[in-house]
């Protein structure tokens, strides 16, 4: 479904602007209904992969194909037609929520902005359905981000991404700051969604033992190189 070919990315770092190769000629693929994980130490460039695939930054080299079509290349920005299909779940959910906006409204806003619902009323119904999907009670829609826990915020962000009926979810360290129970919930939810809607999930985490528990394939990123690891 998604094919990443020979992606490279350099970053300029620091006051003297040294160039460092963050990603060096990496390739991998994701099939439908598959959980692919990328592990690596912090600073190894895992998030850069997530940001390239989600279209926030451009690669220096290489191409990314989505369903056989060229999605991203160094001179082609993200084509909007697929924007909805690929959704990023960021590491720090609170940063992507407006602290002055009720979480339900944040989801409804996404729905309305993409014209997925004809009216506000229906959008509200969709919000409730989405919250149900991520195991949250409907009442939570009326809370502000400061009134919910980290695990709940993460689930709100997943619900926001789900609103657009994506085909691929990129979870960037989505559970690393969560407690065990919350982490278990998120992973259960993601796995549920995968089977229910045929989603693919790109799970990015530093925690190898964690991803080994549920991934179809695991890649390890180290010094810019991506290596496929066999499941132990």
């Amino acid at each position: 479904m998604l094919k990443v070919e020979n992606i490279s990315k350099d970053f300029k770092v620091g006051f003297r602007k040294k160039t460092e190769k963050i990603l060096d000629d990496i390739s991998f693929y994701i099939k439908p209904k598959e959980v692919v994980s990328i592990t690596g130490n912090s600073g190894s460039g895992k998030s850069t992969i997530a940001r390239i695939i989600s279209g926030t930054i451009k690669p220096d080299q290489g191409n990314i194909f989505y369903r056989g079509n060229l999605l991203i290349s160094p001179n082609q920005s993200f084509s909007t037609e697929y924007r909805k299909d690929i959704q990023l779940i960021p590491q720090q959910p609170f940063l992507s929520l407006d602290p002055k906006q009720k979480v339900g409204d944040a989801i409804a806003e996404t729905i309305l902005a993409h014209g997925l619902s004809p009216s506000k009323k229906e959008a509200a119904q969709q919000v409730n359905a989405l919250l149900e999907q991520v195991w949250l009670p409907c009442q939570l829609a009326n809370r502000y981000p400061s009134q919910i826990s980290g695990g709940q915020a993460q689930r709100i962000v997943i619900a926001k991404a789900l609103a657009l009926n994506p085909k691929l979810l990129i979870a960037d360290e989505s559970t690393s700051m969560l407690d065990i129970l919350a982490q278990a919930q998120i992973i259960q939810i993601l796995l549920n969604l995968m089977t229910k809607y045929g989603l693919s999930i790109l799970f990015i985490s530093h925690d190898k033992p964690l991803v080994q528990a549920f991934s179809n394939r695991i890649y390890h990123l180290s010094e810019g190189k991506l290596i496929l690891q066999n499941k132990e």
């Binding site: 770092v13 620091g14 006051f15 602007k17 912090s42 600073g43 850069t48 590491q91 960037d172 360290e173």
Partner: protein, 327 residues
């Protein structure tokens, strides 16, 4: 291109814009440019005088040549001629800048040190009531108009208590001995400097206090406490270091204010300085002097900005060494 180069280039562009505005403003403003540039509007001037001014100013030449002359003059240090003072603007400022600096430099230093010290102390203290009362006091001081504050200080310390002189930089009779003369000067400087310090302190204090207040919730402060580091060191080494960059920026921005904004203080304390020059120039519509002052002040602002940016980079190791964006 590094950030500093970018900054310098934008400063040069800014300077160019200032020069252009300075040149065109009197020529585009309604009214006669000769009157504007000579500041002659109180006394009616005779036709002969008008003509001589016109020739001196070169107003009758085409604009391009005027502009060229203006630039040549500017770069040779000629900021124009004040017909109100019958002196070159450069000369006028040369006499006054030392006086203003005598006020400005100690004021900036004192206000910065005090702002930092009080801000750190009050932001860190557990004595809520003390913090609240000091902060409220500063808010009140900040709300007092500058001339009123200066007048209150003069009335109380100079007039009622007779502790300090009412104005000027020296006594009428300056003592001959160098140390006594220096003491005399210090005695005259204390009140005006205190006024400027009080005027420029509140924003500095508030900024430092609030930053420190939020920094006390930082993890590194908690850890430093847990390591048993003295609260003095936590305040003035640990938190200080991290409050520095925004503080330096604030002080840098404040520099130009202190130089031009000591206006009220200089007038109340009858000090022959830049602020007083600006004030008089504005009253008498002495445009050449006004323009000269603004030009110099803009240069100071630009320089202060560059300096601030460089200092910030020097102080902040993150900017100096660069860091990966944490993911």
């Amino acid at each position: 291109m590094s950030d500093i180069t970018k900054k310098i280039i934008s400063s040069i562009l800014c300077l160019a814009a200032i020069i252009i505005i300075n040149f065109f403003l009197p020529r585009l403003m309604p009214g006669d440019p000769v009157l504007m540039l000579t500041g002659q509007n109180e006394e009616s001037i005779s036709a002969a005088q008008y003509q001589s001014f016109e020739e001196k100013l070169g107003i009758n030449y085409p604009v391009s040549i005027q502009f060229k002359n203006y630039l040549v003059n500017l770069f040779s240090g000629d900021l124009g001629y004040s017909y109100h003072y019958n002196d070159t603007v450069a000369n006028l400022m040369k006499n006054r800048i030392p006086n203003t600096l005598q006020l400005a430099i100690p004021s900036i230093l004192l206000a910065s040190i005090l702002g930092m010290f009080l801000g750190c102390t009050m932001g860190y203290t557990k004595k809520q009531r003390l913090d609240k009362s000091v902060t409220t006091a500063f808010i009140i001081i900040n709300a007092i108009p500058s001339f009123l504050l200066a007048m209150v200080i003069v009335t109380f310390f100079a007039f009622k208590l007779r502790l300090f002189p009412l104005g000027g930089l020296n006594s009428i009779v300056v003592p001959h001995h160098a140390i006594l003369a220096f003491g005399d000067r210090i005695k005259h400087l204390i009140l005006p400097i205190s006024t400027i310090v009080l005027l420029s302190l509140p924003p500095k204090y508030m900024m430092v206090r609030n930053t420190v207040k939020s920094a006390t919730k930082e993890k590194y402060v908690l850890y430093a406490k847990a390591r048993g580091i003295s609260s003095f060191r936590i305040k003035f080494v640990h938190i200080f270091k991290n409050v520095c960059p925004p503080f330096i920026t604030l002080v840098g921005l404040n520099l130009a204010f202190v130089i031009s904004g000591s206006m009220i203080t200089e007038i109340i304390f009858s000090i022959n300085g830049m602020g007083e020059l600006l004030y008089e120039a504005a009253i008498y519509r002495d445009f050449p002097t006004l323009q000269g002052c603004f030009f110099i002040i803009s240069i100071i602002v630009i320089l202060a900005n560059i300096l601030t940016d460089i200092t910030c980079v020097m102080v902040d190791p993150k900017q100096r060494f660069g860091f990966y964006e944490s993911n």
